[in-house]
């Protein structure tokens, strides 16, 4: 593992740690209104380290709460897409023939639909602001690429002699998928999932920016950026704080994913 990858891991660890510990670090909660400090800039003497918004809510507390939402949605949605994608892709690639063709055409069709609309429609089916609905919606489109990657890997594994050897040993098809195919596609899957997390976080922020995601009084990095953008000429920190947090998070995940991909690929050599 390279120094860069390790650095990214440390940054993510610190961010996640601070985000989780924020309720104990700061006297303010994400929804307490401080009437004395409306729209005050960052400073130590006020206790609002990253400033407050127009309603006097502490930006550190809100930012960290938004980070918890982003991490939760990113990681859970990635998990959902890994589970569906691996099961779908491995089955299609291993079974082959008509079943494979039918399963992959289904993926093609869903891919062809404008997926923002799908997420918007899905998120309206659930009560507004439901985080569960959000990650199911995001995960449901995230698995398509995963299924294609896993199917491709499975097709090449299918021709390897150790799979033939397992068939000849009397191993059942589900057991071959679980014991031989899935562990051998784990490398690319982990790498792609890690690279997928920042995309999913970005997607969630985008939905929240549009007002379709996390609802008040809770915040998401996207909704904070949306609010901050309205005030950016008078109080730039309201935009810079959530935008900065989002950037650091995304860069760290991308570096980690890239590093994992390189490590896992060289291990497969």
């Amino acid at each position: 593992m390279s120094t860069r990858t390790r650095g990214a891991l440390i940054v993510l660890g610190v961010l996640a740690g601070v985000a989780l510990a924020a309720p104990w670090l700061s006297p303010f909660s994400h929804d307490t209104l401080d009437w004395q400090h409306l729209a005050s800039p960052p400073g130590l003497e006020s206790g609002h380290w990253l400033g407050t918004d127009r309603l006097g809510r502490d930006l550190f507390a809100r930012g960290m709460q938004a980070m918890r939402v982003s991490l939760l949605i990113g990681v859970l949605a990635a998990l959902v897409s890994v589970c569906i994608g691996v099961a779908w892709g491995a089955t299609a690639g291993y079974v082959g023939g008509r079943i494979d063709a039918a399963m992959m055409r289904f993926v093609d069709i869903v891919f062809a639909l404008p997926y923002i609309f799908i997420v918007i429609i899905l998120s309206t089916l659930f009560p507004r602001g439901s985080i569960a609905a959000l990650f199911i919606a995001i995960g449901a489109v995230g698995w398509l690429t995963m299924a294609r990657i896993v199917r491709g890997q499975t097709l090449s594994l299918r021709r390897r002699e150790f799979v033939d050897a397992a068939i000849a040993s009397g191993v059942t098809t589900p057991a071959i998928l679980w014991r031989h195919v899935v562990p051998n596609v784990a490398g690319p899957v982990i790498a792609y999932a890690t690279l997928n997390i920042p995309q999913l976080i970005l997607f969630e922020s985008f939905l929240s920016f549009l007002g379709l995601g996390v609802q008040e009084p809770f915040a998401s990095l996207g909704s904070l950026i949306s609010e901050g953008a309205q005030e950016m000429e008078s109080s730039a920190w309201m935009l810079l704080v959530p935008a900065g947090l989002l950037t650091v998070l995304l860069v760290a995940f991308n570096v980690l994913g890239e590093g994992l991909r390189a490590t896992l690929e060289s291990r497969d050599e």
Binding site: E161, F162, A168
Partner: protein, 595 residues
Amino acid sequence: MSEPALLAVQSLSVAYRGQPVVDGVTFEIAPRRCLGVIGESGAGNTQVFMALMGLLPPQARMTGAAQLAGAALLESASQVRGRSVAMIFQDPMTSLTPHLRVGDQIAEPLVAHRGMSWQTARARAAQLLEQVRMSDAPRRLRQYPHELSGGMRQRAMIAMALACDPKLLIADEPTTALDVSVQAQLLKLLRDLIQERGMALALVTHDMGVIAALADDVLVMRQGKVLEHAPVQRILTAPSHEYTRALLAATPRLEASGPVPLAVPRAATAPLTARNVSVRHRLRGGWLGRSRWLAAVDDVSFEVRAGEALGVVGESGCGKSTLTRALLRLGPASSGEIVWLGRAVQDLGGEELRRLRDGMQVVFQDPFASLDPRMRIADIIAEPLRALRPGLAAAERSEKVLRMLESVGLGAEYAGRRGRELSGGQCQRVAIARAMILEPKLLVCDEAVSALDVSIQAQILELLDGLKREHGTSIVFVSHNLAVVRRLCERVMVMYLGKVVEAGETPAVFEAPRHPYTRMLLAAVPQLDPARERARLDALDVRGETPSALDRPSGCQFRNRCPAAQPLCATTSPGTEDSGDSHQVACLRWRELTN
């Protein structure tokens, strides 16, 4: 001998991170002579010549000196490479660039090193292809590597190496990946080329037969050190080093005696019987969608008795692997019947088929590819038990696995390792252990020892022989190596383009072959006696290569390579006849040819 040495190497050493892989190697090669450098994997014989060509990776540390025609070589290897010294490698597919036409690849060094125009360089390439006896040379120039057969690709590689008239040709396992008949043709070509062009040849190999055919002097290497350096006659007849003797003893020979055919079948009925098995693949042609049928295996019948090994031999593309896949139900059989212990295998499906696997197991050619890289050795060997003996307690299972590990000569300490930490021979033993753990009645070995060094090959053959004798296991042994088949198999079946051309008891078939193809295969096997081997190459009448299964000749499929073909052979396809001396043959003229 009086000519001054072309290449002189003095105490050459190569080390990686302080670990020596070549240790103080000294030798000379004179023009028109061939130095054979023999060694098993890890011997360092390839490293010596990579060092001379300047092809070692940057972390290698090299000491010593080498002169080519009097000029220091090690310091200027990159300028000399491709001009005075050229190299050919084992795998002709990966050494040719797939997207360039063969002619352009041969012409390229001429343009680069000689400053020729592309037009003259292409004309020269055509000449070179003629010189390496490439059939139909002008057409080959415009073809891509994948359109050529393995033997033709290796010829193209040799033509490329000869392009700039090198003084020294280094050949690293030049014929290892090729069929015996093609190997014999290439050995003859290399021998003629060094005489015609006055080149010196350095031949890196693990195969004593290749050494006997070409080398004048031999260097025997092990673990980076030269153990013995002597003329070929002495190495092969009176080696002084113990390792050379062990290597010679482990090399299977055609003339050696093999197992005696079972006089009386141990069981009244053969456990495995195949009747008229065919495997056809459908090929979709062009965009008019006319599909053709390709018969990879065509009307093959045989039986294997208990405790007996059946050898299946033939060149690549003869359908022997497709046949084993059909036997194991890893691939389909289009027609015919395979009966295993009284049940027709091809009709079984699902759970019944899975149960059937209990008695028949398989060992594949590539020992690394047949082990799951992510699993521990113990889990790999336990897999058939998990699948087919679900009632077995975990403790009992691991005890069985450990006993199995012992019996293939690997200790309990290997249980926790993974495939990549083991050598090829150790991996193959793991594969055999996996196949044996259910104590199957039938073991199918698809080129199971081909990728192994001879000393390990001998151990594995010993192991298989023991299974056969002690447990009464039947073995179907697919191999292109006739000497190995002679060593292990009671009966043998020779296949050509999907059909059985000759079958019978191994001694009868090998000592009195009836079919011209069997004769050609047997004549192509190198022998370990330099004098006889050279006479054999002179007399060699091996023609062409196996044609593609898509354009087979009419009548007898072998007729276009057969020295005894007559007009009749083009119109009539031969049926299988019993030739009386315990074997069957499919040739129209076998009676005349015997006399």
